[in-house]
C-alpha cells in the first residue's frame, strides 16, 4: 500500500455537503468579525496620520487644495468622482468638494501647503504668507514662506507655554481666591490678589492675541488670522515618514487628552473617557458587594428547595432582559421617584430646576449596577458551586462556625470567580448606551463630575460617555462626514477597552479552572 493510498483510506474522503456548509459559516462569521474590527481600527487610527495635501488644477483653470478622501463612480456610471477635504469653511462655506476625475488637469503636492487646526471655522488649507507681530494695515512686503513657517513654529511653541501658564493661574490662583471671596466678601487681601491675577491673565491674553498670520488660499483669497485661535500647524507634504509618525502619535495623544470642539466633530474625547471610567467605577463599587451577597445567600445560606431554584432561574433570566427596560426602571424609580423626593426634601429652594430629579451620575451608576447584578450573581454562584463540598465540610468539622467557614475558606476560593463576574459586568456596562440615554448621559457636559469644589464628587451632574458620544456624533451631528473619523476613533477606543476587559475575564476564568483542578479530589 502506498503512502497516498494509506492517507486516503485513513480519513473519510467525503463528508458530504452539510459539513462544508457548516465550515463555511464558521469562516463567514470570522470574516465578518475580522472585517468589522479591521475597518474600525484602520479608519480610527488612520485619521491621525497626516494625509498629504494635493494641489488640484481643474480643466477650467480653477485651483483647489485638499486631502483626497475617497473615490466613487458617478451615479450615471460615466467616469468617477473624487471627494476632497478642502477645509476653509470661512472662505468657501463648506469643507468638502466632489470633483469629477476627468476634469482634473494636474495634481501636485507642493511642500509649502500648510494645514492649520483652528479653534473656529475648522481647518485651514493653503499657504502661509507672513507672520506679523501686530495688526498692521499695510500689505506684507516680501514673501518668504520658509521664514514665515519657522517664525510660526516658534510662535506656536510660545503660545503653548502661555496657554499652560494661563490655565495654571486660573486653576491655582483665581478660582480658590474667588471661592474665598464668596465665603468672606470683606477680605481685602484676597480681593487685591484676585485683581492682580486677573490683570495678569488679561495681559497674557493680550500677548497671545498680538500676533496675526497672513494666509492665502490656493484660489488667491488673502486674509488675516489671529494666531491665538490656531491650535496646531503642519506641512504634511514636507514631512518625512518619521515626522509623520511623530505627528500621528501626537494626534492620538491629543485625541485622548483634550476635550471636544466644534459640536463634538473635532478635538478629543477626554471628558467622555473620564465619564465612562468614573461611572463604571461607581457601578462596580455598588454591584460587587450586593452581587456577592446575593450569590452567597442563594448558594450557601438559602434552603436549596424549589423556591430557590425558581429565584435562581429568574435572576439568570434578568441578564437577558433588554437594557432599555432597566433604563425605564431607572428613570421611573431612581430619577423621578427617589430623585424627585430628595429634591422635595433637601433641595426645595432650587426647585423647579431639579438637582437629583434629573438624570445624573449617581442614577446612571445605580441603573447599570442593577443591570449587571445578574452577571455578578451568576458568575459568583458558578464559582461557589465549583468549590468542592469537602472543603466546607472540613472547615465545619474542625469546629468553624458557618461565618468562619464562609469568610476563611469559601470566600478566598471564590475570589477569582467574583473578579471574573465583576470584570464581565464592567465590560457590559462600558458598552451599554441605551439605558444611559434615559438616566443621565449628556451630549456635552461642560463640567466633569470631579473637581476641587466640595464635595469633590458631584453625583448629581450629567456626564459624557464614549458610547453615547459615538451615537450622538454619528446620528445628530451637523456634518457627519467631517465627524466620521473621530467617531471611528472613539468606537475603536471603546472596543479596545471592552476587549481588554473581556480578555482579562477569560484569562481569570482559565485561572479558576486550573486552580480547582488542583483542589478537587
Amino acid at each position: 500500500m502506498t503512502l497516498a493510498e494509506r492517507i486516503r483510506r485513513s480519513r473519510p474522503v467525503n463528508e458530504g455537503a452539510g459539513a462544508w456548509l457548516a465550515a463555511g459559516s464558521v469562516a463567514l462569521s470570522l470574516l465578518m468579525l475580522g472585517g468589522l474590527l479591521l475597518l474600525i481600527a484602520v479608519r480610527g487610527l488612520g485619521h491621525f496620520w497626516p494625509a498629504s495635501v494635493a494641489l488640484v488644477e481643474l480643466e477650467d483653470g480653477r485651483q483647489l487644495a485638499g486631502q483626497a478622501v475617497r473615490e466613487l463612480p458617478l451615479p450615471d456610471g460615466q467616469g468617477r468622482e473624487r471627494l476632497y477635504f478642502t477645509g476653509n469653511r470661512d472662505l468657501d462655506g463648506g469643507v468638502w468638494a466632489w470633483l469629477p476625475v476627468e476634469e482634473i488637469a494636474a495634481q501636485r503636492h507642493p511642500a509649502d501647503l500648510v494645514v492649520l487646526e483652528r479653534q473656529r471655522w475648522g481647518d485651514f488649507i493653503g499657504r502661509l504668507v507672513a507672520v506679523e507681530p501686530r495688526e498692521t494695515e499695510d500689505a506684507p512686503g516680501q514673501s518668504d514662506p520658509e521664514g514665515a513657517w519657522m517664525q510660526l513654529q516658534a510662535r506656536l511653541a510660545e503660545l503653548e507655554t502661555l496657554r499652560e501658564a494661563r490655565e495654571t493661574l486660573e486653576r491655582e490662583t483665581i478660582r480658590p481666591l474667588a471661592r474665598r471671596l464668596e465665603d468672606d466678601p470683606d477680605n481685602v487681601e484676597a480681593r487685591q490678589a484676585l485683581e492682580a491675577a486677573t490683570a495678569r491673565v488679561t495681559r497674557q491674553t493680550a500677548a497671545m492675541e498680538e500676533t496675526t498670520l497672513v494666509l492665502e488660499s490656493v484660489a488667491g483669497d488673502r486674509f488675516r488670522q489671529p494666531l491665538d485661535a490656531v491650535l496646531a500647524a503642519s506641512r504634511p507634504n514636507a514631512m518625512s515618514t518619521g515626522e509623520k509618525l511623530g505627528a500621528w502619535t501626537q494626534g492620538v495623544w491629543r485625541f485622548l487628552s483634550e476635550g471636544p470642539r466644534a459640536a463634538n466633530s473635532a478635538g478629543g474625547v477626554w471628558p467622555a473617557i473620564f465619564g465612562t471610567v468614573l461611572m463604571v467605577m461607581l457601578m462596580s463599587l455598588l454591584v460587587t458587594p450586593f452581587g456577592v451577597l446575593a450569590a452567597f445567600y442563594l448558594n450557601e445560606v438559602a434552603h436549596q428547595g424549589r423556591l430557590t431554584r425558581l429565584v435562581r432561574i429568574a435572576v439568570r433570566n434578568l441578564a437577558g432582559v433588554p437594557s432599555i427596560v432597566y433604563g425605564v426602571f431607572g428613570l421611573g424609580v431612581f430619577v423621578y421617584g427617589i430623585g424627585g423626593t430628595l429634591d422635595d426634601w433637601f433641595f426645595g429652594d432650587s426647585l423647579p430646576s431639579p438637582t437629583f430629579g434629573t438624570g445624573g451620575l449617581l442614577w446612571a451608576s445605580l441603573t447599570l449596577a442593577l443591570l449587571t447584578l445578574p452577571v455578578v450573581i451568576v458568575a459568583t454562584e458558578e464559582g461557589l458551586a465549583r468549590i468542592p463540598d469537602h472543603q466546607r465540610e472540613g472547615a465545619l468539622a474542625l469546629g468553624a462556625t458557618r461565618l468562619e467557614m464562609l469568610t476563611r475558606v469559601v470566600l478566598p476560593m471564590a475570589v477569582p470567580a467574583m473578579l471574573t463576574g465583576v470584570i464581565l459586568a464592567v465590560a457590559r456596562a462600558a458598552g451599554e448606551v441605551a439605558p444611559l440615554m434615559l438616566v443621565g448621559v449628556a451630549k456635552l457636559a461642560p463640567q466633569i463630575p470631579v473637581d476641587g469644589d466640595f464635595p469633590f464628587l458631584h453625583l448629581d451632574r450629567k456626564f459624557m460617555h464614549l458610547g453615547y458620544h459615538v451615537y450622538d456624533t454619528a446620528f445628530h451631528g451637523d456634518d457627519v462626514q467631517a465627524a466620521m473619523p473621530l467617531v471611528f476613533a472613539t468606537a475603536l477606543l471603546l472596543v479596545l477597552v471592552i476587549l481588554v476587559l473581556n480578555l482579562t475575564a477569560i484569562f481569570l476564568r482559565h485561572h479558576v479552572g486550573s486552580r480547582h483542578a488542583m483542589t478537587a479530589p
Binding site: A19, V26, L36, F296, I313, N317, V328, G332, N502
Partner: protein
C-alpha cells in the same frame, strides 16, 4: 492534651452569636438584593397596567401607537434571526463535531469577544458605513449575499479534486480558518461580476427594476441592514448555547452511529442534532430575546420611521428605539409616558418568558444528558 486549651464558654457563645447575626444579615441582604432586581417587573406593571385598565387611555389609541412599533420590533428580529440562526447553527455544528480541538479552544473565546462588542459600535458601522455603501452598490451587496453562504459548499466540491498532498494540508478540521481567504477571494470575484450581472439580468438598473417589477421601494436604512447588523450581534450568543448543547450530547451516541457505518455528518444530522434539539431551541429563543430588545443597532440603522410594511428594503421603528427616543421627553404620568412604559412592560414580559422557557428546556436537557452518561 485536649485540656490544655479549654474552650471558654463566653467566647464560643460570642462566636455563635456572631455567626447567627451574619447569617441573618446575609439572608436579609440577599433577599433584599433579589427583591430589588425582581422589582423591575413589579414597577413596570404597577405603572403601566392602569393605562391598560382604563386609566384615561382608549384602547384604540394604545393599539394605534403600539401596533406599528410591535410590528417593527418583530420585523427587525425576524431578519436578524434569519441571518443569525443558519450561521450560528452551522458554526456550532462545525465546531462541536468537526473542528480540531486546538482551533476550537481559540474560536470560542473569539466569538465570546464578538458577543461583547457594544451595540452602538455595530449600529454605527451598519447605519453609517454599511447602509450608504449598500445604497450605492446594491448589486454587489446582493451578489455577496448570494455567493458567500454556499461558498463553503463550492470549496468542498473543489477540495475533492485536489491532490492528496494538498488535501492533507487543508483538512476539514481547520476549514473554519483556511476558508477565510477563500471567502475573501470569492467576494472579490463577486464585486467584479456584479455590474455585469446587473446589466445582464436587470438592464443595468437593479433598483429601478425592483421598484417597477416588484414594487419595492429602496430605503437606505432598511430591514436587511438591521437584520445583518443585529444578526451579527445575536450570532455569538446563539452559537455559544447551541455549541454547548451539541457538545454535551454523549459521545457514545455519535460513535455508535459511526460504528454502524454512518459518516460523521450523517451521525450529526440523524443522531446528535435530534438529541440536542431542545438545546438548540433554547439557543434560538435566547437569540430571539436579544434581538427583540436590542436598542442601539435598531436606533442607528433602521431609519426609525413607524411604517407597517413587510418589504425588507424599507425601514421600521422598534419598541426599544421608541422608548429610547421618546421617553426622555415624555412628562411623567402623562398618557404618552404610560404608553411607553407599557411598551417596556411588553418587552420585559416577552423576554422574561422566552428566557424562562429556554432555561427550563436547558435544565431538562442537561438532566437527560446526565442520565445518558454525558458530562455536560
Amino acid at each position: 492534651m485536649i485540656d490544655r486549651f479549654p474552650v471558654s464558654l463566653p467566647r464560643t457563645r460570642r462566636r455563635h452569636l456572631r455567626d447567627r447575626l451574619a447569617t441573618a444579615m446575609i439572608t436579609a441582604g440577599g433577599i433584599g438584593v433579589i427583591l430589588a432586581v425582581l422589582a423591575i417587573g413589579l414597577f413596570l406593571a404597577v405603572e403601566a397596567l392602569p393605562a391598560l385598565l382604563g386609566g384615561g387611555l382608549e384602547i384604540d389609541r394604545i393599539r394605534a401607537t403600539l401596533t406599528p412599533i410591535a410590528w417593527g420590533t418583530l420585523k427587525a428580529a425576524f431578519w436578524a434571526l434569519l441571518f443569525a440562526i443558519p450561521l450560528a447553527l452551522g458554526a456550532a455544528m462545525h465546531s462541536a463535531l468537526f473542528m480540531s480541538p486546538r482551533l476550537r479552544t481559540r474560536l470560542k473565546p473569539t466569538l465570546e469577544l464578538m458577543e461583547a462588542l457594544p451595540g452602538v459600535v455595530i449600529g454605527f458601522v451598519a447605519g453609517l458605513v454599511l447602509a450608504p455603501w449598500v445604497e450605492r452598490h446594491l448589486p454587489e451587496a446582493l451578489t455577496l449575499l448570494l455567493i458567500l453562504p454556499p461558498a463553503g459548499l463550492l470549496a468542498g466540491a473543489l477540495w475533492r479534486w485536489l491532490p492528496t498532498g494538498v488535501r492533507c494540508w487543508l483538512p476539514l478540521s481547520w476549514a473554519g480558518l483556511w476558508l477565510v481567504p477563500w471567502l475573501i477571494a470569492l467576494s472579490w470575484v463577486a464585486m467584479i461580476v456584479a455590474p455585469a450581472l446587473e446589466a445582464l439580468l436587470f438592464g443595468g438598473d437593479l433598483r429601478g427594476w425592483l421598484d417597477a417589477e416588484l414594487g419595492l421601494h429602496y430605503a437606505a436604512r432598511n430591514a436587511l441592514i438591521v437584520g445583518l447588523a443585529m444578526g451579527f450581534a445575536v450570532l455569538p450568543s446563539v452559537y455559544a448555547l447551541a455549541e454547548e448543547a451539541l457538545a454535551g450530547v454523549p459521545a457514545s451516541l455519535a460513535e455508535g452511529a459511526q460504528a454502524l457505518g454512518a459518516t460523521r455528518w450523517q451521525a450529526l444530522w440523524r443522531v446528535v442534532l435530534p438529541a440536542a434539539s431542545p438545546g438548540i431551541f433554547a439557543a434560538v429563543m435566547i437569540g430571539a430575546g436579544r434581538a427583540v430588545g436590542e436598542t442601539m443597532i435598531v436606533l442607528l440603522a433602521s431609519g426609525n420611521s413607524a411604517l407597517m410594511s413587510a418589504s425588507p428594503l424599507e425601514g421600521m421603528r422598534s419598541m426599544a428605539a421608541s422608548i429610547a427616543i421618546e421617553l426622555p421627553e415624555a412628562t411623567p404620568g402623562s398618557p404618552d409616558y404610560r404608553l411607553l412604559l407599557l411598551a417596556a412592560l411588553v418587552l420585559f414580559v416577552f423576554t422574561f418568558l422566552v428566557n424562562t422557557l429556554a432555561e427550563l428546556v436547558r435544565t431538562r436537557l442537561r438532566r437527560r444528558y446526565r442520565r445518558m452518561g454525558g458530562t455536560a
